[in-house]
Amino acid sequence: MLRVAFRKAVILLTGIATATLVLELGFRVILVTPLQWVLPLPSVAIYGPDADTGVRHRANVSGLWQTEHRAFIRISNLGLRDRDRDIAHGNTPRAIVIGDSYIEALQVEWPDTAVAVAERILARDIPGVEVVNLGLSGARPAIEVARLQSQGLALMPNVAIIVLLVDQFLAPGGSDDSEFTAYRSADDGEFRLSYGFRESGGYRFRTSVGGRVFYWLLDHVQVFRLLNDRKNVGLLAEWSREPPVRTQIGAWNCSSAVLDSQASLWIDGEPTNARALLGAFIRDLAAIGHSNRLPIIIATRGIEARCPALEPKRSALIGAIRATLEAAGLQFVDLDKRILTKVGADGVARLHGFRTRLGQGHFNVEGNRIYGEVLAKIIRGALLQH
């Protein structure tokens, strides 16, 4: 009886193994044919562990990105969402742009990213100029500072632009360093960069021999990528997935709630925890800028500029932000206003999303082009000034 059970188990496992091999083969065939632009595939795994930020791009990894829009992406030799570059840049000017997934722009091909567009525009007037993309999905203010310190300064930039989503200071979990770098209150009460994730089991595994095997499998075995994809989205992800909703282009929310909460933070210093995070962020950036003689421009995003009725309130907030940053030796750019000036109130939504989801999500190709033009203008001004 035991022999029969064993035989059955072997047959069962052989069947499963055969299915796995067939699927792996199928994925590989799809990958080497134009079918890769149509048929479903596991996404490329571009992120790996990093001691300074918790996560970063893995150098020289390439493949298809399928979230929002299918795009072939390649991580540069320096481990950035960028083209390959030498770390040294001689006498030609170099700017770096740090930001979150909007700057990272995995949903479009690299030449279509805002940073690449900015580099091309600037190169017409300033031959050899470089604009380096340090965008990273989910980058909070603490990660942006850590990224500037660890990867940004190594590039010896002439100017650094931090694209800051203002909501981040008020988002819950701002002090959670279990996965990524965060600002936490130290013994002296000051908020400092904290790296609690280094002690986590996940981080230790990813940086161990087992982790190296894990990433090797991710790079070479499609079905392993598939398992990893599923782990990331959750086993029962479809349970709560809504069918695609056709968005109404051109509608936006003119509630003053966001402005009010930002005004509390920047003007009244409330809530205190968020204000402490903001203070630490400004303090650290100012220190980095000062000690490295690096002009740092904070370009804010997420302060709705399309509501004339809220303009007085918004102007007061922008004035407070500008004053706070300039007092610390940092420069300020109101990115939302610049975009609005460029495309008009009705044009802003069309910079986001693709096709049936136009108006929702990250920048599409047109959105990246517009942001690229704005970034080019900011960088040109900064380079001329310094």
Binding site: K8, I11, G15, T20, L236, E238, E242, P243
Partner: protein, 462 residues
């Protein structure tokens, strides 16, 4: 629950284990079917329960007198009219009674049709009432046919339900479980790999609007295959699920795009709905003695137009659906008239005309409304573009797209071979633990593919 989700696979695994280990098989499948439907929401569940209960109670008096049948039909179609057509009907009548979008209760079009057909069959003496509410509820609620068909008739499903609840083994035992797993895998491949991959391109062309005729034809061609893979994939899974649990359901598709005339296409597309409309609407309408013998042909054609127009309306509450259905009927009339008066054209030409007509008519099915559909059809025939979607102009891109489109047709032909008697025999000969494990594992792998965006089965919205 949706068949193309991992949680459904877990659900089926649990149900299958209980089904194999416990003696109350009918009750287990009934409980599972209820659990399958409940996530649709409280309103949908309560409505389905009320309709099923009312039909259960009406099945006995319906056998005795026809007036009870009329009452039952008014109840069933009243429900359908209210929950699916109230806004359309009120707007068409110029009344401002209902406004806004309505959310159609899940599967209402299917269960109303199935239950009504069952009551008519009872009244005609072609079906027996179920002796218990559980059996009756299972007849409608079985998760293999609940949400989007196949629309099962009593003569096929009724005896199987009774065997199941009587504790008798299924007619074909579990010999077909391997075939069932294979069908589930085929259906999942059609849905997850093909239909969902075509969806973004179709959405893009219909959303942006085609710029020229090439883009319009591409959109229509891709949509034809998207909806075919989507719905026939669903039907394959439903059929396969039935076989896994020893229940043989009806086939809903038989490679319709290989048809060489429009009637044949409709005998191969959504077969159970076509058969139902034929038996309960078209034939009665054709056979009523309304007109003299000389005009019987006209009555026949009239019945055809009415049947197919209602078929269009069944699919959706909109003028575009009505036009779509009417076009099918008119094409049938033309095809019949042609066959009576002219020699048959070569097979290839017949096939091209049939498929070409279906592609054009599908625009009315897919477009948001009648005016966009008319604009799209204009673009199909070269009367200017209505949007910005275009086919890449460089030779390589255009060639690849053409090859891809032809490959879809080739897949359709390949599917016809898969369902051949020889292939089935081979499948049954190879059936065993190895093959079943391989099929199940491949299906789970496909379900693991994270979906970039949710693409529910298209027929869920009907």
């Amino acid at each position: 629950m949706s068949y193309d989700s991992l949680y459904f696979a877990f659900f089926i695994a649990i149900v299958w284990i209980a089904f194999e280990l416990l003696p109350w098989r009918g009750w287990i499948l009934l409980a599972a079917s209820i659990a399958f439907y409940v996530p649709a929401g409280l309103r949908d569940s309560v409505l389905a329960a009320i309709v099923i209960l009312a039909n259960y109670m009406l099945q006995f008096p319906v056998r005795r007198h026809r007036r009870w049948l009329y009452l039952a039909l008014v109840l069933n179609f009243g429900c359908l009219a209210y929950f699916k057509y109230r806004v359309f009907l009120a707007t068409t009548a110029g009344l401002n009674l209902f406004t806004g979008n309505i959310v159609i209760p899940l599967g209402i079009s299917f269960y109303v049709f199935q239950l009504s057909a069952f009551l008519i069959d009872i009244n005609r003496g072609r079906a027996q009432p179920f002796t218990s509410l559980a059996r009756f509820a299972f007849f409608k609620l079985f998760f293999g046919q609940l949400v989007a068909g196949p629309i099962m008739r009593w003569r096929k499903l009724g005896p199987q339900v009774n065997r199941l609840f009587d504790g008798k083994p299924p007619l074909r035992g579990h010999r077909l479980a391997g075939l069932g797993l294979g069908l589930c895998l085929l259906g999942l491949t059609k849905k997850v790999v093909l239909a969902d991959s075509l969806a973004p391109f179709v959405d893009a062309i219909f959303y942006d609007g085609p710029k020229d005729a090439a883009a319009a034809w591409l959109g229509s061609w891709l949509f034809a295959f998207q909806i075919y893979f989507d719905f026939s994939g669903y039907s394959d899974i439903a059929f396969g699920l039935g076989l896994i649990f020893g229940i043989v359901l009806s086939r809903n598709f038989d490679t319709p795009f290989c048809a060489t005339d429009i009637q044949q296409l409709w005998q191969r597309w959504h077969i159970t709905l076509t058969a139902l409309l034929r038996d309960y609407l078209f034939l009665p309408l054709s056979n009523i003695r309304l007109l003299g013998k000389r005009f019987r042909v006209a009555q026949h054609f009239g019945a055809m137009v009415l049947t197919m127009t209602l078929c269009g309306l069944w699919h959706g509450a909109g003028w575009n659906f009505i036009v779509w259905g009417t076009l099918q009927a008119l094409a049938m009339v033309v095809a019949i008239a042609w066959a009576r008066n002219f020699p048959s054209p070569p097979v290839v030409l017949s096939w091209a005309a049939t498929f070409g007509f279906f592609l054009v008519s599908l625009v009315f099915f897919r477009a948001a409304d009648l005016s966009s559909a008319l604009g799209y059809v204009g673009t199909l025939f070269g009367f200017g573009g209505i949007g910005s979607a275009y086919v890449p102009e460089d030779g390589a891109g255009g060639l690849l797209i053409a090859v891809g489109c032809l490959a879809l047709l080739a897949l359709h032909w390949l599917e016809a071979q898969l369902f051949s008697r020889r292939a089935m025999r081979l499948m049954l000969r190879l059936d065993g633990l190895f093959l079943r494990a391989a099929f199940a594992a491949t299906a789970v792998w496909l379900l693991l593919l994270p979906k970039v965006q949710g693409n529910p089965f298209i027929y869920f919205r009907f």
